[in-house]
Chain length 111, copies 2
DNA sequence: TCTCCATATGTGCAATCATACATATGCTAT
DNA sequence: ATAGCATATGTATGATTGCACATATGGAGA
């Protein structure tokens, strides 16, 4: 549903969308993923290559249980997907958009 | 600086970038902005039209001091900019990228 | 100068969250 | 079946954070 605003300067009605309810909740949950250093590093690593929990833990120097917790979070939100090969589970980014957003962030910061 | 990873499957070296240090900090701070419902609503409102603190407060039904606090946050990170007209200060999005990211989020969620 | 409105700041509380420890589950090969 | 590695889960805790209350600043007009 659109929101109607009265422009203070032009005195005209402006139509636009302000997310509410479930979409708002989903959006904040989605973006909160990017708001933590550990998760950003995990996502960046997965943007380079699919990896298993142990690899991520070793490469990034993060406790295994922490990695596992965060990956579960990432999977719940649909940002990573898994593929089992024997006893090893490979994690990878499930969507280009995730990487797009990372790059947009870097772009915004001017790096 | 790039990170070198050993691909478990191909056994080849993979080169890529995992943000660390100041960039990592800036990125998490940047994305944490989007991780709160109040800020998302404020940003969405500003994507429709520039507005002053009181207008935002009224349109969105958020306490004035809360809006002011959040706008200060948003300004510190460089996401909004201000323009004074008399005693009224108009806030607006300072960069297209902010809106791009919002839309990417909506796109990811499939709305 | 005094008053009014717009905006900003100080502070405390409640709630959320990231992390690590200990432990459990699950898969594989011998 | 049992040993060993990979992964997941339960839980406690320290830290962070969003918010509103009260209050302060600051500009504009009378």
């Amino acid at each position: 549903m659109d929101t109607l605003l009265l422009d203070r300067r032009t005195q005209g009605l402006i139509e636009g969308y302000v997310p509410e309810g479930e979409l708002l909740f989903s959006l904040t949950r989605f973006f909160s993923i990017f708001a933590d250093g550990t998760r950003l590093r995990i996502l960046s690593a997965l943007a380079i290559s699919e990896m298993c929990v142990t690899d991520i833990s070793r490469v990034l120097g993060i406790n295994q249980t922490t990695v596992s917790h965060q990956l579960r979070f990432l999977k719940d939100v649909g940002m990573v997907c898994t593929e089992r090969h024997g006893k090893i589970i490979f994690y990878s980014l499930s969507n280009e958009i995730v990487n797009d957003i990372l790059l947009k962030g870097v772009e915004f910061l001017g790096y």
